[in-house]
Symmetry: C2
Subunit: 188 residues, 2 copies
């Protein structure tokens, strides 16, 4: 039945991002995505559970990488350093996907339901990071504050990274955001 379809997943993703940008997420159907990619709906559903998953499939890899890196940080690492190492490792997964990340963000910014989904994603990252810190023996409220600080740093760094005027490396922006966070919390 199924013949080999070179890079079907990438073609479907690209077609979906184009259509979501052109028509809006709600106005795009899976049939249209498949057609634009020159593939069948059946092939779409072999790669993605639904049209929202095209925008969020990377979440579990980000989360796993972040949590694993926090867990594996050397024993004497300060919690914030373990979290920043985790964020940098997660950033490595995104590094080659800046054009898609920019398209994706514009689609999400235009749709309230997708913005909610994105907030849930960030809250899930914060909560999984706090759990990983607790497993390292970090007590609360330090564990939750470090995790929240890490996600705030990542969020701001990511926003700068997808800004068209910015061509810095995401890992570099994460380190800069952490320094900025230290400076702003220190106060005047």
């Amino acid at each position: 039945m199924s013949r080999w379809q070179p890079n079907a997943r990438g073609r479907l993703e690209q077609a979906a991002l184009e259509l979501y940008s052109e028509r809006g997420f709600d106005q795009t159907t899976v049939a249209e995505i498949a057609e634009r990619a020159g593939l069948t709906e059946r092939t779409f559903f072999r790669h993605f559970a639904d049209k929202r998953e095209v925008l969020f499939w990377g979440q579990s890899a980000l989360l796993d990488t972040l949590v694993k890196t926090v867990a594996d940080a050397p024993d004497p690492a300060a919690p914030i350093d373990a979290v920043v190492a985790g964020l940098e490792a997660a950033a490595g997964l995104l590094q080659e996907r800046r054009p898609q990340a920019r398209q994706r963000q514009a689609v999400i910014a235009a749709n309230a339901g997708l913005q909610e989904r994105e907030l849930i994603k960030l809250a899930t990252l914060a909560s999984a990071t706090a759990d990983a810190l607790r497993r390292r023996g970090v007590k609360d409220p330090a564990a939750s504050l470090t995790a929240e600080a890490g996600v705030a740093v990542f969020k701001v760094a990511f926003e700068r990274w997808i800004d068209k005027a910015n061509d810095s490396d995401l890992r570099q922006l994460i380190r800069e955001s952490l320094e900025e966070l230290k400076a702003v919390t220190r106060g005047a």
Copy 2:
């Protein structure tokens, strides 16, 4: 038609929180809330737009107080100090409502849709705070990082405040969480 109903709003809120706790939010109707409060549905809808608003009506007052306090902070105040002043002013609105805040949080923790709504509320507070800082002349990324840090501090302080084992003042917990945030971002 409408006779005077002493503290109708408070009675409706109390009845709603009880029913949401007993049966779950989704399983509770406005008719049941009104009945438990000894009032009519009509009276309910004079006070609340829907059953979700019983849990979120305080958001706009919190947001207004936070933003106004940030805007009115003395000129030389460091951004983080302006934000903490705003959070403390917002905390003042909650101070007398600890039992309701505890009941409310248990209801929200049991319902995914309400958790999403709560995340949106926190994101809205962060974004309004960042805007208020920009209007004070704070540049990005400092404005967004300070706002995110403030909301993280508030979130963690609030969680500790509604913890049954904790009887500290919310303002005190906000100050402690800020100190903890400074300590964790400083690292080892």
